[in-house]
């Protein structure tokens, strides 16, 4: 059986990829995808350690995480849609009517 540390490393790597994409991409959709990546990294941990500890808590929570991720995307797409309508683009740095 694969030792749990490997899963941790894998998850951490995916998470970092997500963070990287999040920091480098200015396209809102890319941002969403990066966030999905981070959430899935969490899912990997949850499922892997659900097997490691021998209880299904992690797997169940993984399901919930997926559901919420999808819901988040649904809301996010809605917001990005109105963003496109108002600013004519999906570049997050376009929207600067207020100063940071």
């Amino acid at each position: 059986m694969v030792p749990p540390q490997y899963y941790l490393v894998l998850a951490a790597a995916i998470f970092c990829i997500g963070v990287f994409g999040l920091l480098t991409r200015r396209n809102a959709l890319m941002f969403l995808m990066s966030v999905e990546l981070m959430l899935n990294a969490a899912n990997i941990n949850l499922v892997a350690f659900s097997q490691y500890w021998g209880n299904v808590t992690g797997q169940t929570f993984g399901l919930f995480t997926m559901a919420l991720a999808a819901a988040e995307v649904a809301v996010g797409l809605g917001i990005i849609l109105v963003l496109y309508r108002n600013f004519g683009g999906v570049d997050v740095t376009d929207a600067t009517t207020m100063r940071w």
Partner: protein, 138 residues
Amino acid sequence: MNPWIAIGALALMGVGIPLGMMAASAILRPSVPEQGKSATYESGEIPTESAIGIQFNVQYYMVALLFVVFDIETVLVFPWAVIYSPALEAGVPLTDLLLPMLVFIGVLLVGLVWAWRQGAVNWTSSPRATRRKTERQS
């Protein structure tokens, strides 16, 4: 043996066979590049601008959102459906098994009814159609 080995093998076939057919056709087929042959089909007219990035009916987006909601909900129903009868046989009281799922589906149905009445699943809302509807009601 681990079933996934076999499944992987079939996946391999699923990729290999089409690739083989492509290869065969690549050997057989001629290639006669010709002006206008590669124009996209628009009923024989000269194609207008590219099709990529044209705007289409927003209803597709609505439907997609609805799908996200209900697909997720299906994911959550799956485990319930699987353990339902085993749990019954294990002697779990029916209410504890059934009521939560009924509540869950009920909430979803409220959402669906709302979306329905808001016209999220009405494909066309052309004035003519609505007028016909009203005439039918009257």
